[in-house]
Symmetry: C2
Subunit: 327 residues, 2 copies
């Protein structure tokens, strides 16, 4: 199996991306096709003793940055490391494509370059987040700010397949993000979606309020991309601010440092559990070939985990299962 | 000044409400008019040595619970402690009304029993939340799931007045919740609202992404009530889950308990900063008389703080200022 990786996506590229790829080759027995400036990739790899074993490079000069528009992947930046990654995927040069670059451009490319699974109205950006009992998928995380009920129903179907086939959850519990648990709550979009999910074959557990989302009461939370993006980033923001406050307590005084020494191990476990790096990649569900987004701040470990998810997604033939589930 | 207080609103009523009222009488030099079952109030006060000084009771038998519909405050439960509170406010028997009861019913009553400030399209539920640098107002927190741009503009005007007059913030920075910072981001509602706010006299600082909300980058975050409710409760949920994890670390082992002893003071300061009880009440902005919501889980200290906010809101003639700002 070959995973195509955008060597120049994200804040820590190419070094952390290369480190992650080298480790993934060993850990998951996969080949890597890197896209990006070959000279720089070779130089950084050599300087950091990163083995090029089972890694090939598709050379391209340009990089699509966070400041580029989403549309630029289609034309102006089609020869960037991201644009070339999509081309490699379409040409069958690899089984999945992974990038830590511009999310908007990646969703745009997944939709218009890779194209959708037949019958899927819109692909969704589908990150997996930590909860107090494990993890859950949140979708759409921001690919579609305007949604219709049928789109949300499809998101739920795709999330159910992903959580079952890739995350190995039995009968994934699907929740609908909403402002209250009663079926009449929310906007028209949410009331109509509630009815669609209730009448579906899915394991629908009803409306989920924001305060219950982090408690792990379901395996996937479905919502429109505007709401999902606000939840996702608020989630990340609150966790990050609180972790920083805790760090300040433990580094701000001698007493704090002594306390830190006593509970360091437990604190690290907790920090790792609530760190997005642990969960790695987010699939763009609905694209007709596997496309994964890695967090822009991703370190090597995140890239490793994300490549593992790509492998599981390909091996489970998740796209075929989604396709069959739509009928 | 007299503050009307629903003695039977919230999970900890009437005891915590009565405790808070008694303390507020001393602290803020206000009179309290309690609504609810007089017998129970007198009994609970006597059993807990709560002084009835400067507190009068408007007797009523019924209680509007969390299971009642929002509409019930208008007819079926108009003689509940909440319904009677609204009547007292309308009859001029007090200067502000405070309840820890059913939010939906309180917003409904504020809109249809107290009525709106002339020119205000819809009142907004406007809680104040902690951030890493202080606090900020989030509105609408859930009173209106469907909003139009003009409503969001009015929310921004009201928040600016509140943060300036009650919270004493100079030139409050107003942000628009959105999925990106660029002016073309979000749904049509958000793009149109962006233009209205940009062209207003407000200190508009642009779109605010979820991850920046907890960092205190603005003094008020404006959004529709569906989005606001999801942000509000996710915020609360993530903070609560993380605080519980920390508590587990410090109580789960002997080492943890030793560490806790060292940093207990700092941890308490942090816990208090991120505890909604610290910020007390949330005004229902746009109602023609002061109506405040207290969190359903509120303890006495929250009731005290909220009564302080009611007093400041009345003293600042915030409603007159809002009314003048609309012209």
């Amino acid at each position: 199996m070959t995973i195509i990786v955008d060597a120049f996506g994200g804040d820590n590229a190419p070094l952390e991306v290369l480190k992650g790829c080298a480790e993934a080759v060993q850990k998951f027995d996969v080949d890597i096709l890197l896209t990006g400036k070959a000279d720089t990739i070779k130089k950084v790899a050599a300087e950091n003793n990163i083995s090029p074993e089972r890694m090939t490079i598709e050379d391209c000069d340009e990089v699509l940055t966070m400041h580029d528009t989403a549309e630029s992947v289609l034309k102006a930046k089609k020869n960037s490391s991201m644009g070339v990654g999509f081309r490699m995927l379409n040409e069958g040069r690899g089984d999945a494509f992974l990038s830590a670059g511009n999310s908007g451009a990646l969703c745009m490319g997944a939709t218009l370059l890779v194209r959708r699974i037949k019958g899927i109205k819109r692909p969704a950006f589908a990150p997996v987040l930590p909860s107090s009992t494990g993890c859950f998928m949140l979708l759409d995380g921001g690919a579609n700010v305007d949604c219709r009920p049928e789109m949300l129903r499809q998101f739920a179907v795709m999330a159910s397949v992903y959580m079952e086939k890739v995350m190995k959850v039995d009968k994934p519990r699907i929740g609908l993000a909403n402002v209250g648990t009663e079926d009449h709550k929310g906007t028209e979009l949410y009331r109509e979606t509630y009815a669609l999910l209730r009448d579906s074959q899915l394991n629908f557990v009803g409306n989920i309020e924001g305060r219950d989302i982090p408690k792990g009461v379901c395996d996937a939370v479905v919502c429109d991309g505007f709401t999902g993006n606000m939840i996702l980033k608020t989630y990340e923001g609150v966790a990050s601010v609180l972790m920083k406050e805790i760090k300040n307590i433990f580094t701000g005084s001698m007493k704090g440092k002594m306390a830190a020494a006593l509970v360091m191990k437990d604190l690290k476990v907790m920090k790792n559990r609530f760190d997005y790096n642990t969960y790695g990649g987010a699939p763009i569900l609905g694209a007709s070939k596997p496309v994964f987004k890695v967090h822009g701040n991703a370190k090597a470990i995140t890239v490793v985990n994300a490549i593992g998810l790509c492998k599981d997604y390909v091996a489970a033939k998740a796209i075929d299962v989604i396709s069959a589930s739509l009928k």
